[in-house]
Amino acid sequence: MLPWNLRKIVHHFFSTQEKLWVLFLIFLVSAGCGKSTDEKRDDAILSANILLTKQQCDAAISLLEGVGRDVNNVNYLKALASGYACKGGFNVLRFYQDDLPFIGNPGPMGGFSRFGSSASMTTPSNSAYNNLQTAINLLLYAGGIPTDEDPTPSRRANNFTFNEAGELNAMLMYTILVQLGRYIKFYGDTNASGVKAGGALTSECFTDYQNLDFAPASTSGSQYDNIVDFLGAGLTGSCNLHTDVGHPDLGTEGNYNIARMCQGVILMNNLLAIFPSVIAGIAGSNFANLSSLESTLNTAKASVETHTPGSAAAVNSVYSQTRCETLNASNDDFLQTYFLFIMETMVQ
């Protein structure tokens, strides 16, 4: 109720028509429209990108998670992945400026361990590593790919336009490169120059190896009879004897930590699946050293299958962490062979 004198003033100075006018304006003012979920999500994406400009990672994540995940919206996924990558210590500008020159220095992949954030991983459950992995998983499984299916580029392409899928793959390439740098630095115990087993630990290899017999040369074309034979070939750096030990967090002979070994496999396989198409569209020679890795890695993968047949299905073409753990839960031969021919040879 209006005070008496105010009511008198209104009554005296304003006609009925004018009072209706004021009511109409009040109606307009109170008639603010609500927003749909999509509009709220668009707002959240914009606000999150503004927050990420100031590197306010948690606020950006909270905002985006608050409106509900949209696995089919590339801008949403890029913003949310950026939020987790921010918490995970990733920054693509730093990658271009500081990390890129280390690719191939030393080669083939030892230089990855020299990236700026590689040394940040000090335990397997490192929070920066886990947050960056969350970002990677958001992008890998974009479009709602179930986590127990392989998130291949072709599967992602089914759910997005060509450009959208390309955008997801590009961000994946950068984040996986940085994450793989951490994995190699931690489990390979590299030194500041990117040389394996030069760190604080006493390990010489990524992991311990059983003296696994390879498929007979007569039927498969294997060059080596068993793991010891290959370790002596001078292709694996400091890891050259059966007695050499691996990183304790990857387990021991017969008692491997399958989940952690699979993390390395999944990072490596997804990187190889993605980077050739991404760097094909990037001008200049920034990624020249990465480009040459494609054939090296494919050759190494072929050797894994040649020496331990069945590896193609069990590890080489597996892109899902869940699948990798399931397929290798009762038989670690494929993982051992993969680590021997790929991890130990790529990082020496």
């Binding site: 109409f24 304006l25 307009l28 429209c33 927003k35 606000s47 990420l52 400009t53 890029k78 955008e167």
Partner: protein, 384 residues
């Protein structure tokens, strides 16, 4: 009776889509309004009437000509000069330096004529807005628009209050106005030819890099690949105004709905949709007093009211004080201060000032600092 049309308009507007986040992209803004916090819905009786509220044409009983008026808007670099000291040459340090710095370029002209309660205006507006956001994985947000077209409107009035009745070449706001009360409703129709490109691209993503590599020598092909498109559309505005005036003092209430339902464009070129002209619902009230040699006005607006924005982002307050030849303008809109000066010497009117606009979604989330310069030549008003 007179309230049927506005109520129907508002009801129709409720069913229209709310625009996406970010800066409110009006078709045309008056530089004078921008320097008054854009609190202008009940004061838009200059050359920008048809872009604010067609009902304001109800003030007219004169012939008004605005043959040459241009305005240029740019980012207010004066407020951020440190950013450009020792500017780097390499791409990554450049990206670091311009992160979160909105770049804005605008040029426009709106020549027009008013004949009593009828108004016609042409317009050509070119504006580009760029901002690099997200320091983790930078996104460049591009919003380019080039609009050309015309708008014609008419206002029907009941009563005689607040109508201009005497020609004063120095300043339109000092024209004498009639005493009494008046209600006007106005409708305008416009045709817009729009070229536009709106998108968010990852600076290190494949879309931008691929298109640059593939179309490095053909700018047209590059912008088409990024989503440039052209189209034509027709839009409708509605407004209402009520004035209580004693000739020198004036209280005005106004409301308008611009681009009712949102103006869509029929695409004539490109593959991406032509950026829609969003609907904006506005309401305002203003008070003006004229002491012949000195006048002042205060205005308050709420807009846009249909985008679900917080009230703090809709609130706009403006003030102006005028002496012969010079007027000072100031305002507060979307949480930011604006100010400027206007000099009006016979057939030349010049205005300059600074204002800010909100580029984010929330109140004071991301400030776009801008400067505007306006020049009008041969602006004449005659008694009918």
């Amino acid at each position: 009776m007179i309230f049927r049309l506005p109520v129907l308009t508002i009801l129709f507007a409720f069913f229209a889509t709310i625009a996406s986040a970010g800066e409110n992209r009006y078709l045309v803004r008056s530089p004078r309004a921008l320097l008054m916090g854009d609190a202008y819905t009940s004061k838009a009786y200059d050359d920008y009437t048809l872009f604010y509220n067609p009902a304001t044409l109800g003030r007219g009983s004169l012939v008004e000509l605005y043959p040459i008026n241009v305005d240029v808007g740019v980012t207010n670099v004066l407020d951020d000069m440190d950013r450009f000291d020792n500017f780097p040459k390499d791409p990554v340090p450049i990206a670091d330096r311009i992160m979160g710095y909105p770049v804005y370029l605008h040029a426009g002209a709106t020549p027009g004529i008013k004949f009593g309660s009828f108004g016609f205006s042409m317009f050509a507006n070119n504006s580009t807005s760029l901002v690099l956001r997200n320091a983790i994985y930078p996104q460049i947000d591009i919003d380019y628009r080039y609009d050309r077209g015309f708008v014609a409107g008419y206002a029907y009035s009941w009563g005689q209050g607040g109508k201009f009745e005497k020609f004063n070449p120095f300043d339109k706001s000092k024209k004498k106005t009639t005493a009494g009360r008046r209600t006007s409703v106005g409708l305008s129709v416009k045709s817009i030819d729009r070229e536009g490109l709106k998108g968010s691209f990852s600076l290190f993503g494949t879309t931008l890099l691929n298109e640059i590599n593939n179309n490095s020598s053909d700018v047209g092909a590059l912008r088409r690949a990024l989503g440039f498109s052209k189209g034509r559309g027709w839009g409708v505005d509605f407004g209402a105004e009520h004035i209580i005036s004693n000739g020198k003092d004036e209280l005005a209430f106004a409301a308008s709905v611009l681009d009712i339902g949102g103006t869509n464009f029929k695409k004539t070129e490109g593959t991406a949709p032509v950026p829609e002209q969003d609907m904006f619902m506005n309401a305002g009230v203003s008070w003006r007093q004229d002491f012949t040699l000195l006048d002042y006005s205060l205005s308050l607006d709420l807009h846009p009211m249909n985008r679900g924005l917080p009230l703090s982002r809709q609130l706009r307050v403006g003030a102006e004080i005028g002496l012969p030849i010079v007027r000072a303008l100031a305002g507060f809109g979307e949480g930011y201060i604006s100010y400027g000066l206007m000099v009006n010497v016979w057939v030349v009117k010049v205005m300059a000032g600074f204002y800010s606009t909100e580029l984010g979604t929330e109140f004071k989330e991301e400030q776009g600092k801008r400067a505007v310069i306006y020049l009008s030549l041969l602006d004449f008003t005659f008694d009918i």
